[in-house]
Symmetry: D3
Subunit: 243 residues, 6 copies
């Protein structure tokens, strides 16, 4: 596989002579309920990125493990970049990739809180860097992926630390899953026009789970879900002509 981490600079040079695509996994370090590890988001993003890299031969950049998690800072262990910092990091990384000749960048983003910063960074860079193209894939917002989740585990309204995330982690990092810590409580996602912050999140979702209790999560669903996510990323990379 083409991991930038393991490639030497002459190997990258050679790669850029025949391909301008790269996969960039983006994560976060934040609470995921009483039962999942703080690294859930970057572990999931990396799993999809590695699967996609293996299937396509497209180079995979090292994972940015930290993301924008301000509203969850009330939970012990959450570590957040400010939105401004995250935009600066993405600006530096994307600008660097472009400088070397990469042009089509697939961000495999494991965390909702990063979406705004990815868009900001790309839209600002587009002023300067002609031909830069960035796709962003968020597995848990994907209709095809969610169809599998529903088929295998029933209707799931949850989002953060949900059955889908739990299943995913059972498949890729069981050490970070402690099902016995689940309380059985549901915390239905309350639609509201009030912006959720560190001040209000813990009141709305005291266990750190948004949605139904994920006790029914299965490793098999996680594996199916990962397979589908990789399949979509492969398709996105293959159907992406250089501009």
């Amino acid at each position: 596989m083409n991991l930038l981490a393991e490639m030497s600079w002459p190997e990258v040079e050679e790669y850029l002579g025949r391909d301008t695509r790269v996969i960039l996994p983006l994560g976060a370090v934040e609470e995921h309920g009483r039962h999942l590890g703080l690294g859930t988001d970057f572990i999931e993003a990396e799993a999809i990125a590695l699967g996609t890299g293996e299937a396509t031969g497209v180079a995979v950049a090292p994972t940015l493990n930290y993301g924008m998690s301000l509203p969850l800072m009330g939970f012990p262990g959450t570590l957040s970049l400010s939105p401004h910092t995250l935009v600066a990091v993405l600006n530096d990384l994307l600008r660097g990739l472009y400088q070397h000749g990469f042009r089509r960048i697939l961000a495999v983003n494991g965390h909702g809180g990063n979406v705004a910063s990815i868009h900001s960074a790309v839209q600002m860079l587009a002023q300067d860097l002609p031909g830069l193209r960035v796709k962003s894939f968020e597995w848990w917002m994907d209709a095809e992926v969610n169809r599998i989740v529903t088929e295998m585990m029933g209707e799931q309204t949850g989002s953060h630390a949900s059955a889908a995330e739990t299943a995913f982690m059972l498949a890729v990092r069981p050490n970070a899953v402690k099902m016995q810590q689940l309380t059985g409580r549901d915390a239905p996602v309350k639609p509201s026009r009030e912006i959720t912050t560190q001040q209000t999140f813990a009141t709305l979702y005291p266990d750190g789970i948004m949605g139904l209790d994920p006790s029914g999560a299965t490793r098999a669903a996680g594996e199916a879900l990962l397979k589908k996510a990789v399949e979509i990323c492969v398709r996105e990379l293959e159907e992406w002509p250089e501009s």
Copy 2:
């Protein structure tokens, strides 16, 4: 009506003795097809804010006319704050409101490109400012509002410079509507994981309209839509206990 623009400082002082709510209209200056004025977003936001202020007596702050419109900078006349600048502006305004004693702020946001910055600003401020609460209302993303649009003008898949926006402007600022400039072309919104930028927007939507041709827009629908939007904002303000 309680317009901050017309209130003197002793009047604001007196107001704050009995209420901590305020309405903040947020707009943008960007192309809206061949037929709508560049000010569409701030004109609409201001119309809803004024209607809501009139109905409730809640103070209305002056409109922030400019917003984050980078992806549309390719069209003549679009003027955009960078995301970083917009966050700084919102930080200054919200911090100022808080310093005076405002605690519940309803952002009536007329522009999708502002959403990320509003969230960023509020989530950062929440670290420092206990008791600050911010709601954000986006009329075009609202299910109730969209139901009216559909009832009165048929199914509309459009988003930017759509029939709904056109109807709204016919109702509130007909001078900024030039229906004769419409080309009749549809530009269906193409779902894509590629992030739209200044480089790609004009290729996807050459007239600057995202969606179906809005020729069928009616002033009556615009009036109904505005009424509904105000009704929702009034409800949001009334059902908002101080924390």
Copy 3:
């Protein structure tokens, strides 16, 4: 009139084919004594800008309602951008205007606290943007305007929330004038080398008025003053060859 707010992008494109001038009104939201609305500065700037646009056909950009008002933050309702934020906003707007082809920009600035930021932004942009030219007009600092003020209302030493400002508002937004709130107190402007801040302003000028009590302000003087201000702006635009 050529309001950018009402012009569509093809209209701006057509305009830029024959003219590179634009008027940009800049305001502030800050206390103006016990009798004037917080929006005084942007209301006045907008009135001059609209009058000038009407007389010349030069395009008028939407008003930036907020400005740099830090020293007045002690008075309820004042909302201030930090100097750094204001420079960022002006940088974004001027850069955007330049990108579309505007070259001669008349800033109609209604607020003294903005002057430094306008100069900073323009002087920094001038490093990058050849041919950018910016004029800044401040009505209350203008000798011709002040002559009219004196002729019609007697010698006025005041500056902020003065008889001149009061007259102006009587002419353009009487709803924002509450003459009955005036106390009759004079607060002579004390020349000092100490920099006025939020900590000291309210001590020096407890009503928020700098100068003589403006009870003698008349609407007629306001109208004459506006007419003269527009006349000067028209002249500035007409005697401004493209470089």
Copy 4:
């Protein structure tokens, strides 16, 4: 004399036990016509500061030699901080002085381009630092000083690199004065609403002098002028009760 540069930390500690005043000289490095050295502004500011320190025993901080000189960057040798950088420097220095216990700071500012940044920095710091008071003295804008200039050298309309500045430099650093380089050309200061930038300054004032040819400058006038400037600064320090 109490030069911070020569005082050890226990001496500063002892000083702060009996006084909270300090003098901070601010300069610039920029062209001053064909005849004066680039350091003119900081040399003058330092001369006044040292004279004042000697007369009062008030501590004198090291000079900030560089200032905001963007509009003069077109002339070889001018070195400018951006306005943003200068505000950051002043913020750091004033905050540091305050942290140690200084409360009354007299900025002896030798350069017009610094004024806006001094005001910005102080007005922002005033939000955080109760009791911070800053005076700013600009010798060339002072009526008393200008009276002496006129008495000794006749009416002078010049400002930058004028007869007054030349006289001052003859008095304090004759090595930096080359009278033989003067061309005898006058460059009357043209009042204009257009903001002067690097692009336009050299066209308006090709020798880098704003105003009348300063050939008539005398060392005696420079000495008188310095004496008066020091006298004013002494008065400002003496008539400045701690708040």
Copy 5:
């Protein structure tokens, strides 16, 4: 082992009840000669951090894979944060750790280019965060570690991509080592007072190796070196009383 990535928030909460130490591995993504992978620095830092976490039970935070590598941007694949961005990231992470209650942070830093930013971030935070203590360990600058290198592989003057680094990678990630790519060329480190930049680095060290050809590197030396590095980190954590 206490990996934050695998710990849930209640587990972190429980940990903080008995310990305030944490290990933070810091890396870089940059060329390491023709034979080592771009991820060398973060792979090495993570290996030491994991070893130390295992030996002590101290929590290990996720690795920051990217660092400050500007001078190496001329080599394909190097990706660098600007110094300003890196300081912002470290500020956010250290502030977050502190907010949760961590007080003694051992940064296991795999990259020389990060040292300045770590110091900057910590020294700025120390103004605000009483009791924050940070140690920084750089294995290749350590006398004890270098003694082992010399004993096992002879005198090594190299630094970047040296025999020591090569041995380390043979021990922990042989997939990222391609010994056959070595050219046998030495590139002695030239002491110079000129600051090395992207413009000059590749001229001085064309293969991207600073120092002697590392062909003699052995896995055994890498293992010994890692063991020693872990031993030192364990000692640093154990001999670190809470202040």
Copy 6:
């Protein structure tokens, strides 16, 4: 001598026609034990810069008196730029020098805390400014200089406010030396992996001296040391071909 402070712009223009080298002295304002003035670092840097300018005819820029001294802020009188501010200042100055045509810049840096910022600024600028070359000279880190120190005053382990610094100041600014304030206490430099901050510095080095008591410092050693430092700088300038 070619002091920029005394040169007029036509003289700089003429100089740049034949030379692209310049000397930039960088200092700091920070405690230097009970016996040395706060300006020690900039006084020393300026002395070396002036000596070098005199010997070579290379232009000398005005001294940047302030530097990065955060860890010493606990001692009265220390004034520090934040690292971010210092990088911004250096960026502005180096960019300005480059704009005028200077290409080889010798930073005579009197303060260890500035090193990181000098490197950061230069490495960032190198992305944009082809041909920019910067050398940085730190006298107290120089082997040749230290040999003289040892020969004349015995082995010295001290660094900050040491015998070497004391000797230097006796030679160049005896007014800033108060030998009678010395306590005779040694404060051996304790090697530690913990990053020294404002919180810990004063505990480790209560007098503000790092190392042995400098009572044995002699003016003769200071003169020899300065002579050697100048000699090295002259050599660095002479053996520096334009690229």
